[in-house]
Subunit: 216 residues, 2 copies
């Protein structure tokens, strides 16, 4: 797993794996008769489980704090698995198959289910709310890849705060069209505070749109 | 191209191509000695060019109208190339290589450059603005795949309006942290009207956040 984390899969050989594990090459083949592809998929499955643990967060406190906590863990994972994370998600990799794609899609689905459960809707989440959450998750992945590609700038806590703000913005925009999302936003607001992410976003957005009276 | 549009690449054979083109299989091989992979890449390059033409839009009128026009053309392309579009972007396809990934990334880059040019910043666009635009483009791709997967619901004009609103929301949230983006938003506002997407979004967002006075 540490080899696949720091190198693209095509740059990891079975000899490297045997050496890192301190065992012989035949022993690696005994446990992984499918060779590198099987080894890679096993490592990916294990990383996917680790990643899904990142999303678990108790359903207490402001929604933005819960999201920040989960994002902190997710971004730490991205930071640690940089080369492997990029290789996996950028596509066109030699080890990419419908099986690896399914593992990655499973992680995305788990992330979406976690977020939707925190939104605490009475009815099962509708199409618009689901779409909003899935789009944001894709956007977070894209931002993570760009962050890795751009020498890990800005610092992680800035990136995390900005991603939380993007989530709030997307959710509020969907709330304008979707009653279920609007109810979730209204339910979340009382737990948010002026010194939290929503307060800071609200205060900084107002001066930007102060000249928009003609739209109302 | 029409075969790759309606079927996944693994379901298109060279015999199918020869038959659809009304020529012999040897003639197809004469022009495409690399076989199906070369044919697929040629079709993809041609589709990428067609897609890049979708983004061209004169730099006049409200920003949201320009974005709506380009999105209408993009979504019509998605609608027409459904199976091929999904196969290409979902990953794990047998014909996916670093070359096909590069072609798709080229389309994404072109889309980002078009949008950034319409934002009319004085200085070259900074990291935050670029990241916001790139994240929205990824989110549009994700929404397109989900739309294809969910029996093309909601209707295209609803999806388009909602994607425009998501863009406005993401841009305004970034403007809260980034002076260049704030300047672009302020410059765009006077051209927007109360009966356009920004007006409709603003009026419908206000009641949702009316209980947020404690955040200010």
């Amino acid at each position: 797993m540490s080899l696949f984390a720091v190198r693209a899969p095509e740059d990891v050989s079975l000899d490297d794996v045997a050496e890192a594990a301190g065992v012989s090459r035949p022993l690696v083949y005994r446990y992984f008769p499918g060779g590198k592809q099987q080894l890679y998929e096993a490592a990916l499955r294990s990383a996917a489980e680790e990643l899904e643990h990142c999303f678990a967060e108790p359903p207490d406190g402001p929604l933005t704090r819960r999201l920040s906590n989960a994002l902190d863990r997710y971004l730490a994972f991205v930071d640690q698995h940089d080369a492997g994370f990029s290789a996996l998600l950028q596509g066109g990799s030699v080890v990419e198959t419908s099986r690896t794609t399914a593992i990655v899609d499973g992680v995305r689905r788990a992330a979406a289910e976690h977020i939707l459960s925190h939104l605490g809707t009475q009815e099962p989440p509708g199409d618009r709310l689901r779409l909003t959450v899935r789009m944001w998750i894709t956007a977070v992945e894209a931002a993570s890849l760009i962050w890795l590609d751009e020498e890990k700038e800005p610092p992680l806590d800035e990136l995390r705060d900005w991603l939380v703000e993007q989530f709030v913005a997307c959710l509020v925009a969907t709330a304008a069209r979707d009653e279920q999302t609007a109810a979730a936003v209204r339910a979340a607001l009382p737990l948010e505070s002026a010194d939290g992410p929503m307060g800071s976003l609200a205060r900084r957005v107002l001066p930007v749109v102060s000249d928009a009276a003609h739209l109302l």
